[in-house]
Amino acid sequence: MNKALVIGTSFGGLEALKTIIPALPADFNIPILVVLHIGDNNNDSFIRYLNGISELNIKEAEEKDEITKGHVYFAPPNYHMMVEDDETISFSDDPKVHHSRPSIDVLFESAAWAYKNKLIGVVLTGLNQDGAYGLKTIKDYGGTTLVENPENAVASIMPKAALTESDVDFVLELDEISSKLIELSVQDE
């Protein structure tokens, strides 16, 4: 049974997340961690908005949060977000990765270390290659990987890079992703 879901996106990500997150039910079985590249701006108003239209509880992650289902944790701007072995959240202000902090790769890699093969990773629309290495790491640890179809994504670079880096399990249209996630979240091995 999967234990967590990680999502990474940049340009076009606000719209993409607005399609996926509100379509997930309140009893969605696993916690969700999100890296959205948003520059130095804060996530506050987007989180508030998303909370208003979602059944899940959306929040900006806090250091040492215990990662629990029913929640969607957004990385704060200017910090990398990582998952510790004890399933808590930690931050770092290490140098940017792919010009990004938070970086999708940093989240995905640490989540793969913590959750091993019980992790789902999703790369959505975006304008750089962040996330490709992270998604490969998830795959290497036996996790499940999904990528938004670059042909129809707002920005194709990020999903394309992810597809080039590793064998991805599912390439889906944006509006197909949430139902696939629901299916995967309850699936036994």
Binding site: E62, E63, K64, P76, Y79, M82, V83, E84, D85, S90, F91, S92, D93, D94, P95, V106, E109, S110, W113, A114, K116, D140, Y141, G142
Partner: protein, 280 residues
């Protein structure tokens, strides 16, 4: 293949604690209670740069080669900083802490984990503009001697100057940042009058103890790298070091949550992480 991969993974999780133990026993630097994901990321990076086949292989090297250990120390220390980092913090500090400091005849300040010193000079500039610098004694500490040397000299690249200027203005700076430095050979050098009241010293938050009673402690973006136990230990150290009603300033994503002193401090500015030690 799958089998093989998982056995490699398991080995790393066995090897890292052993490696950190070896470093501690040999060199007395203690990273055992750092956030695991952070340490793992840094060590794997060093392993790949140094072309080691495993953490154990690297352990053999670190035990026998002091120069390699010094490089490693660099990897494990946190040296991200900038002038007036988080300008809103400095703004709040001017509004909410400075008035209290003005009532003291003499002010002792501990800047813990000062790294290369940009934030020490930022604080000194602020204190000077508020007319306080001459009554201050600042202890700026870090465990990394290399960064302390840089901090002492106060020489920085001009590369980020635009950002520094912007931060200074946004922090409520009263003059021009350029009043405080000279430019030479593509570097800026801060006026040494700023560091006249600063002692840069080697201090390790993990293994060293209280060294002075102070009125103010700044320790920003250091605790995020520690696990809960170590965070608790360091907050205890701060609590013990602070005089009555002393102020504690943490990084923007840090808190006293989960420490035994969660209720021993009052919020002065919860968003900017400025706290005041309660009496009793």
């Amino acid at each position: 293949m799958e089998q093989n991969k998982s056995s490699v993974i398991d080995n790393i999780d066995i090897e890292i604690p052993l490696f950190l133990e070896a470093v501690y026993q040999k060199y007395s630097y203690d990273f055992r209670d750092y956030s695991k994901a952070h340490v793992k990321r840094r060590l794997l990076h060093r392993m790949s740069v140094g072309r080691f086949t495993s953490i154990s292989h690297m352990q053999e090297k670190v035990l026998r080669d002091k120069a390699f250990f010094i490089d490693l120390l660099e990897d494990l220390s946190i040296n991200v900083t900038e002038m007036f980092r988080d300008p809103d913090f400095y703004k709040s500090f001017r509004e909410n802490v400075v008035p209290t400091l003005k009532t003291y005849p003499f002010i002792k300040i501990w800047h813990a984990g000062c790294s290369t010193g940009e934030e020490v000079y930022s604080l000194a500039i602020l204190l000077k503009e508020e007319g306080l610098l001459d009554r201050c004694q600042v202890y700026a500490t870090d465990f990394n001697r290399k960064v302390l040397e840089i901090a002492k000299h106060g020489i920085y690249k001009t590369q980020e100057l635009d950002k520094f200027q912007r931060n200074y203005i946004n922090s409520g700076g009263k003059e021009k940042l350029s009043d405080y430095y000279t430019i030479k050979y593509g570097s800026i050098k801060f006026d040494q009058a700023l560091s006249k009241h600063v002692v840069f010293a080697d201090h390790n938050l993990v293994t060293d103890h209280v060294f002075a009673e102070v009125n103010l402690i700044l320790c920003r973006n250091v605790l995020i790298y520690f696990n809960r136990e170590l965070q608790n230990k360091v907050i205890n150290l701060f609590h013990e070091s602070l005089a009555h009603s002393g102020h504690l300033c943490l990084g923007s994503k840090e808190s006293l949550r989960f420490t035994q002193h969660e209720h021993s401090f009052a919020d002065i500015d919860a968003k900017q992480k400025i706290f005041k030690k309660k009496i009793g």
